[in-house]
């Protein structure tokens, strides 16, 4: 089986996650050895996936946790009062 660029692009995500069968992975690896565009596509996609996992991408507002637990506490207290 000889694969082209489009074939590689169809499997970027599963390739990065290591979820493709060995034969296809070997074919893609062979393709990557001589295709700089596909290599850069996979490397940049993988890099973006790594950046996405960083907590700095979505920063939680300062004081979020405190305000959440305060509001929750009010609900818990009012519910307890209802029960008495």
């Amino acid at each position: 089986m000889k694969i082209d660029c489009k074939h590689v692009w169809d499997h970027i995500s599963s390739y990065i996650d290591g979820e493709i069968d060995q034969e296809l992975r070997q074919e893609i690896d062979r393709h990557l050895q001589h295709c700089s565009i596909c290599s850069a596509t996979i490397d940049s996609t993988r890099n973006i996936v790594v950046l996405m996992a960083d907590e700095r991408v979505y920063e939680i507002p300062a004081g979020f946790s405190k305000r959440l637990h305060t509001r929750l506490d009010e609900v818990i207290r009012s519910e307890s009062l209802d029960r008495t």
Binding site: A40, T41, N47, I48, V50, Y58, F64, R71, V75, I76
Partner: protein
């Protein structure tokens, strides 16, 4: 998932179910501890849907309170986190329906069917951009805006999987879809992110060979 992870998750589920039984038995304040590990994911999910901090914070609080008030309805068929994320997603959707009607959902449904031919951002070289680059506001903004530009269906899956690290099955359960659907959406979301972001982020990498350009 490795065997170790499976065991760890099963243990966590057992511990949480014991905690839930105690909360329902009257130790109400324990709920604070139960949700503490999930504050971030609840916020991230609704922020990714609503796009602004104030609405996201209010929606996250509402989702957590809904979870508390409905805790007796949690059946333990899925992990507590899956159940909580489902509540957060519903809260996000309800707010979107109120503000943007149902248009976004229907547009997204169409975009899932008709993605058309895909071409990535055509680069000939990629130099690793280290995570430290995220200290720069503009880099974080590039990422946030690229996420925001994704259709909602893909955005949700990307945030669950790549940002919050939920596994395939938990993501599928929270969204009431199959793992195959999750894989397809994640694949498309990552490709769109690459197409959108790679040309923008490239300038933050160490100096190297140029980009072929051409994608607009």
């Amino acid at each position: 998932m490795t065997q170790e992870e499976t065991i760890r998750k099963a243990q966590k589920k057992t511990d949480e179910e014991a905690m839930i039984a105690r909360i329902l038995g009257g130790e109400r304040d324990l709920f604070h501890e139960l949700i503490r590990p999930y504050e971030r994911i609840v916020y991230s999910m609704v922020f990714s849907m609503l796009g602004n901090e104030a609405d996201a914070e209010d929606a996250a609080q509402t989702a957590v309170i809904q979870a508390y008030l409905n805790l007796d309805k949690y059946r333990g068929e899925s992990r507590f986190s899956t159940w909580l994320v489902t509540i957060a997603l519903n809260e996000g959707r309800n707010r979107l329906r109120k503000t943007k009607s149902l248009r976004e959902d229907s547009i997204d449904a169409l975009s899932e069917e008709a993605e058309g031919d895909y071409t990535p951002a055509l680069l000939t070289d990629w130099r690793e951009i280290p995570s430290e680059t995220l200290e720069r506001n503009e880099v974080r903004e590039h990422l946030q805006k690229a996420i925001e530009r994704l259709p909602l269906l893909y955005r949700t899956v990307l945030v669950m999987r790549d940002m919050e690290g939920l596994d395939m099955e938990e993501t599928a359960r929270s969204l009431c879809v199959t793992t195959t659907v999750v894989k397809v959406r994640l694949h498309r979301a990552r490709r769109m992110m690459q197409r959108d972001l790679a040309p923008l982020l490239k300038r933050y990498a160490p100096k190297g060979k140029g980009w072929l350009g051409g994608w607009s």
